[in-house]
C-alpha cells in the first residue's frame, strides 16, 4: 500500500503535458469553480494546494528550482512584496494583463497582478453614530472617538498594509501618530476577526470599526439571521474621498521563478482577469472585480461608488516591515 502511494506520488511529480500547478493562499469556493472552468475551456489540468501566504513563500524558497509550482496566488499585496524580494517570482509580459489590471494594482515590473480588490473602510453604527466626524483615516485619532473604536490586531495583514499606505503617502511621523492615536481610542484590546468587530458594534461595545467591505457583504448574505441583523445596522464610510482615496488591498497572482509550464500559467493568469472569471470572483466572495468591465455584486454596489487610493500598491508594500514595527512601538497588540 505504502509503496503504491509512494510510486503514485513520485509519478505525479513528473509534469504531464498540459497542466499547471498552483500554490494558493486563497481558499474560496469561487477559486475551485474557476479552476474547473479553466480546465473545461482549455483542457489544461489545474492542480492546487493551499497554505498561508508566508508558508508558501518559504516553501517556494526552500524548493528553489525543483519546485513544481507555476503560479502563486495570495491575498494582501504585502505577500507579493516578500515573495518578489526572496526571488521566487518571475516577471510576466502580457498585454492582456497590463490592459485590464490598473497600474496601481500590479507590480511595476510585472512580478504580480491583482485579480480582485477589497476596500478597507470604516463601518459605523447607524443607530447612534454621526458619520460626519469621520472623513479620513486620520480622523480615527480624534478625541471624540475615545473608547468607541474597534479594530482587529496589528498582525492582520489588512491593518499593516493600511498603515504602510499611510507611511507612503503621509510619512513615518504621521503614521506613528495615527498608530498611537487609534490605539488611544480603542474600545477594547484588538482581537477577533473583522466580523467580530461588527458584532461588537451591534453589542454596543463600540461605535466605529475598521473593516473590509467583503466581510459586510458576506454577513449581509449569511445563513445566520443574527449576522444579517448585525450587518444591517452598519453604515459604510469610504475614507479620504477628498484627497488620495480609500485604501484598497488586493488578491493577486504571480508566476513562480521555477515554473515549468510558463505558457499555460500565463494563460491562466489572463483567464483570471477575464470578464467571465471576474464575475465569479466578484459574485461569490463580494470582492470588487479588478476588471472594470465587470460590475461588482449588488450587495457591494449598494455601498456606493468611491475614489480608490491611486498610490501604487507596489510602492506602499515596501513599507510593510516599517508599519509592523510602528504598530509594535505604539504598543498595539
Amino acid at each position: 500500500m505504502k509503496k503504491s502511494i509512494l510510486a503514485l506520488s513520485l509519478l505525479a511529480g513528473f509534469a504531464l503535458a498540459a497542466e499547471i500547478n498552483i500554490y494558493s493562499a486563497r481558499h474560496y469556493d469561487a477559486d475551485t469553480q474557476l479552476y474547473k472552468l479553466f480546465e473545461e475551456k482549455t483542457g489544461i489540468k489545474v492542480n492546487a494546494t493551499q497554505a498561508k501566504g508566508g508558508e508558501l513563500i518559504k516553501k517556494l524558497e526552500v524548493e528553489g528550482d525543483s519546485s513544481v509550482a507555476d503560479l502563486f496566488i495570495t491575498a494582501d499585496a504585502g505577500n507579493f512584496y516578500t515573495a518578489k524580494k526572496k526571488g521566487v517570482l518571475q516577471s510576466v509580459k502580457s498585454q492582456t494583463l497590463e490592459k485590464i489590471v490598473p497600474v496601481q494594482y500590479r507590480d511595476a515590473e510585472g512580478y504580480w497582478f491583482a485579480i480582485s480588490k477589497r476596500a478597507r473602510i470604516i463601518a459605523y453604527d447607524k443607530r447612534n453614530f454621526d458619520p460626519s466626524i469621520i472623513k479620513n483615516y486620520q480622523d480615527l485619532t480624534k478625541p471624540e472617538l475615545k473608547g468607541k473604536l474597534l479594530i482587529r490586531s496589528a498582525t492582520a495583514g489588512y491593518n499593516t498594509s493600511l498603515l504602510a499606505s499611510i507611511i507612503e503617502s503621509e510619512g513615518v511621523d504621521a503614521a506613528s501618530k495615527w498608530a498611537k492615536g487609534t490605539l488611544a481610542n480603542l474600545a477594547r484590546d484588538p482581537k477577533g476577526g473583522d466580523r467580530d468587530q461588527a458584532k461588537a458594534i451591534f453589542a454596543g461595545e463600540g461605535q466605529v470599526a475598521v473593516m473590509n467591505t467583503y466581510y459586510i457583504g458576506l454577513m449581509l448574505n449569511s445563513p445566520k439571521p443574527e449576522d444579517v441583523e448585525v450587518a444591517k445596522i452598519l453604515g459604510v464610510i469610504f475614507p479620504n474621498q477628498d484627497n488620495r482615496g480609500t485604501h484598497v488591498n488586493i488578491s493577486g497572482i504571480a508566476l513562480t521563478k521555477a515554473s515549468k509550464n510558463k505558457e499555460n500559467a500565463i494563460k491562466f493568469m489572463e483567464f483570471m482577469v477575464s470578464p467571465e472569471a471576474q464575475k465569479i470572483l466578484a459574485g461569490i466572495n463580494y470582492e470588487y472585480p479588478v476588471n472594470t468591465a465587470v460590475e461588482p455584486s449588488d450587495t457591494i454596489k449598494a455601498f456606493g461608488k468611491f475614489k480608490e487610493d491611486s498610490t501604487p500598491l507596489y510602492k506602499s508594500v515596501e513599507k510593510i516591515s516599517e508599519a509592523v514595527k510602528i504598530f509594535d512601538m505604539a504598543g498595539w497588540k
Binding site: 505504502k2 502511494i5 509512494l6 506520488s9 513520485l10 505525479a12 511529480g13 500547478n21 481558499h27 474560496y28 492542480n47 492546487a48 494546494t49 493551499q50 497554505a51 498561508k52 501566504g53 508566508g54 508558508e55 513563500i57 518559504k58 516553501k59 526552500v62 524548493e63 528553489g64 528550482d65 525543483s66 513544481v68 509550482a69 516578500t82 524580494k85 490586531s153 496589528a154 498582525t155 495583514g157 499593516t160 477594547r188 484590546d189 484588538p190 482581537k191 477577533g192 473583522d194 466580523r195 467580530d196 458584532k199 461588537a200 451591534f202 453589542a203 466581510y215 458576506l218 449569511s222 445563513p223 445566520k224 443574527e226 516591515s321 509592523v324 514595527k325 509594535d328 512601538m329 497588540k333
Partner: protein
C-alpha cells in the same frame, strides 16, 4: 541485531529536522530580533507564562479528579462518563475557540439564556478553552494508570485505615509518571498553540514566532525564537526526568495486572460525582458539539462529496502514521530501558520528543528545509509530490504523545522482571513481546488513540507539507474558519469529531475484547 545502534539511528533521523532549526539560524540576518526583544519579548514571555500555568493548573484539576472518580466509584452513568470524558480530545482547539465565541457572543446561547455576557475573548477565555480541549491527555493517562494500579496497595491503605482523600493522594503520587506525562503533553500543546491565542488576542511565544515569520517575512529570526522555546522545553523535560527517577515508585508486586475494583458511594457522593462529570462533559463536549451540529444542519446544503474524500484522506494518514509512530516509540522506549548505561539513548529520546513543543508550522519549516535540501541535490520531488514528507512530519511532531504514553506504562513494570527474563536467557525480543507488551497493552491502545486523533485534527503540518491537490478535513475546516465563515466550518469540523469518535469507540471495543 544491535538494538542500541538501531535506536540511535532511528532517533537521529527524527532529530535531523529538529536540529536543522539551528542551521537555519546560522544563515539569517537578525535586524528584526533587536526590535522584537526591545518592544515585544517581555509581553510575549508574560503571556506564555500565564497561559501555560493557567492551562496546566485547570486541566490537571479537571483531569485528575475526573479520572479518580470514574476509576474508583460506581455512580449513575459512570461507564458512559468514563469514555465520554475523553471525547473533547476529538475537537481541535481552534474549533473549540470558535465554538465558544459563537456561544458566548452577543445574542449567543449564553446571552440568550442568562441575559448577560461574559467577555470571553481574552487570556482567561484562552485558558478555559485550551484546558477543556487538552485535559483529556492527562485524564486518559491518569485513568489508565489509576485503573491498572495494584490492588495490593489499596489493601495496605485500608489496613492503615487511611481516609479516601489520603488514598487519593497516595494514588496520585503513584500515578505521577502518567499524570506528569499527560501534563507535559498539555504544556507542549499549549506552548505550540497558535490558532486560539491569536484569535483571542493573547501574546505567547508561538505568536511571536509567527509575528516574525509572517508579519516581518523573517523566518530566520522566527527560527531563533523556536530554538529558544525548544531549549526551554528541553530543560523542563530534564527536570521532569531527574525528578521522576529520584522518586521511582516502581513497586514490586505479584499481581500487577490485577486492577482496582470500584466502590459504592452514598447518595450525596453519587450526586456530586455525577454532577462533576456531567458539567465537565457538557462544557467540554456537548455544548460545542451541539453548536457544530446546529450549524451543520443550517449549512447542510453546502455539503460536498469531496468532504468524504477528505475524510478518507484524514483517516488513511492518521492510521498509517499512528501505527508507525506507536511502533517507533515502543522501540525507542524499550531500548532506553534495557540498554545499560543509557544516558545517550535517554538524551536522544527526550530530544526526539521536542517536536511536540514547537508550533506545527515551525516543524513544517524544518522538515521542508531537510527535504528541500534532498530535492535540490538529488533531483527528487519529495516536497511537492509525496506523502513521505507529510508522514515524516507527523512522526517528528507526534512522537512525544506516544513516547509519554508508553513511558507512563513502563514506569509501572518493575525492572526486576526484565532482569529475571534476561537471566533466563530469553531474548530481548521475547522479553518485549511475551512480557512487556501484554502488560502494556492498555498503553499501546492509548498511544494509538491519542496519536490517531492528534493527526486527524492536525493542521499546520498537513497544510504546509501535503502534496498538491491533497486535502484533509482539518484543512478545509480551518480555511473556512480563518475566513470567518464559521458556519461553513461546522460541517467538516463535525466530521473530524465523528471520525475521532469512531476511532475511540472502535479501539475501546478492541482493547476490551482482549482484556
Amino acid at each position: 541485531m544491535n538494538i542500541k545502534f538501531w535506536a540511535i539511528t532511528v532517533a537521529l533521523i527524527i532529530l535531523v529536522p529538529i536540529i536543522s532549526i539551528f542551521f537555519e539560524i546560522a544563515f539569517g540576518d537578525y535586524s528584526n530580533l533587536e526590535h522584537f526583544f526591545k518592544y515585544l519579548f517581555l509581553r510575549y514571555i508574560q503571556g506564555t507564562f500565564l497561559v501555560a500555568f493557567g492551562v496546566l493548573a485547570l486541566s490537571a484539576t479537571i483531569a485528575v479528579i475526573s479520572a479518580w472518580i470514574v476509576a474508583n466509584y460506581r455512580f449513575p452513568f459512570v461507564n458512559f462518563f468514563e469514555y465520554a470524558l475523553m471525547l473533547p480530545l476529538a475537537i481541535p482547539a481552534y474549533i473549540f475557540s470558535f465554538c465558544y465565541v459563537g456561544i458566548m457572543e452577543f445574542q449567543g446561547y449564553f446571552h440568550k439564556i442568562f441575559g448577560f455576557r461574559l467577555d470571553f475573548m481574552n487570556i482567561y477565555g484562552a485558558i478555559f478553552v485550551l484546558s477543556l480541549s487538552l485535559y483529556p491527555y492527562i485524564y486518559m493517562f491518569a485513568k489508565t494508570s489509576f485503573k491498572t494500579q495494584s490492588k495490593v496497595l489499596f489493601d495496605v491503605c485500608k489496613i492503615y485505615k487511611l481516609s479516601q482523600f489520603k488514598i487519593f493522594r497516595v494514588a496520585v503520587m503513584l500515578s505521577r509518571p502518567a499524570i506528569i506525562g499527560g501534563a507535559m503533553l498539555v504544556l507542549m500543546e499549549t506552548l505550540s498553540d497558535y490558532g486560539t491565542v491569536a484569535y483571542y488576542g493573547v501574546a505567547t511565544f508561538s505568536a511571536g514566532i509567527f509575528k516574525l515569520w509572517f508579519d516581518l517575512g523573517d523566518s530566520y529570526s522566527a527560527s531563533i525564537l523556536a530554538a529558544m522555546l525548544m531549549v526551554l522545553v528541553f530543560i523542563i523535560m530534564i527536570f521532569e526526568h531527574i525528578n521522576k527517577n529520584s522518586k521511582g515508585y516502581s513497586f514490586n508486586t505479584h499481581n500487577i495486572a490485577k486492577t482496582t475494583t470500584k466502590s459504592e458511594l452514598n447518595t450525596i457522593g453519587k450526586t456530586l460525582a455525577f454532577l462533576w462529570c456531567f458539567v465537565i462533559f457538557c462544557l467540554a463536549f456537548l455544548f460545542p458539539v451541539i453548536w457544530l451540529v446546529y450549524w451543520s444542519i443550517m449549512t447542510i446544503q453546502d455539503f460536498k462529496l469531496e468532504f468524504i474524500t477528505m475524510a478518507g484522506n484524514s483517516l488513511l494518514m492518521a492510521i498509517i502514521s499512528a501505527i508507525l509512530i506507536t511502533f517507533i516509540s515502543f522501540f525507542l522506549v524499550f531500548s532506553t530501558r534495557i540498554i545499560k548505561n543509557n544516558k545517550l539513548n535517554t538524551f536522544l529520546l527526550k530530544t526526539t520528543s521536542l517536536g511536540y513543543a514547537l508550533p506545527g508550522a515551525s516543524i513544517g519549516l524544518c522538515v521542508m528545509i531537510v527535504f528541500g535540501y534532498i530535492d535540490r541535490n538529488f533531483g527528487t520531488q519529495f516536497l511537492s509530490a509525496s506523502f513521505v514528507v507529510l508522514i515524516f512530519g507527523y512522526i517528528v511532531r507526534f512522537l512525544a504523545t506516544s513516547v509519554y504514553a508508553v513511558e507512563s506504562g513502563y514506569a509501572k513494570i518493575p525492572k526486576n522482571i526484565d532482569d529475571a527474563s534476561l537471566l533466563l536467557n530469553r531474548s530481548k525480543f521475547t522479553l518485549f513481546f511475551k512480557v512487556h507488551f501484554p502488560l502494556l497493552r492498555h498503553f499501546f491502545f492509548l498511544s494509538l488513540i491519542v496519536v490517531f486523533i492528534d493527526i486527524v485534527k492536525e493542521l499546520p503540518l498537513s497544510l504546509i507539507l501535503r502534496p498538491l491537490g491533497f486535502e484533509t478535513l482539518s484543512i478545509r475546516a480551518f480555511f473556512y474558519a480563518t475566513d470567518e465563515r464559521l458556519y461553513a466550518a461546522a460541517l467538516p469540523s463535525l466530521l473530524i469529531v465523528l471520525l475521532s469518535l469512531v476511532a475511540v469507540i472502535w479501539l475501546e471495543i478492541i482493547s476490551r475484547k482482549k482484556a
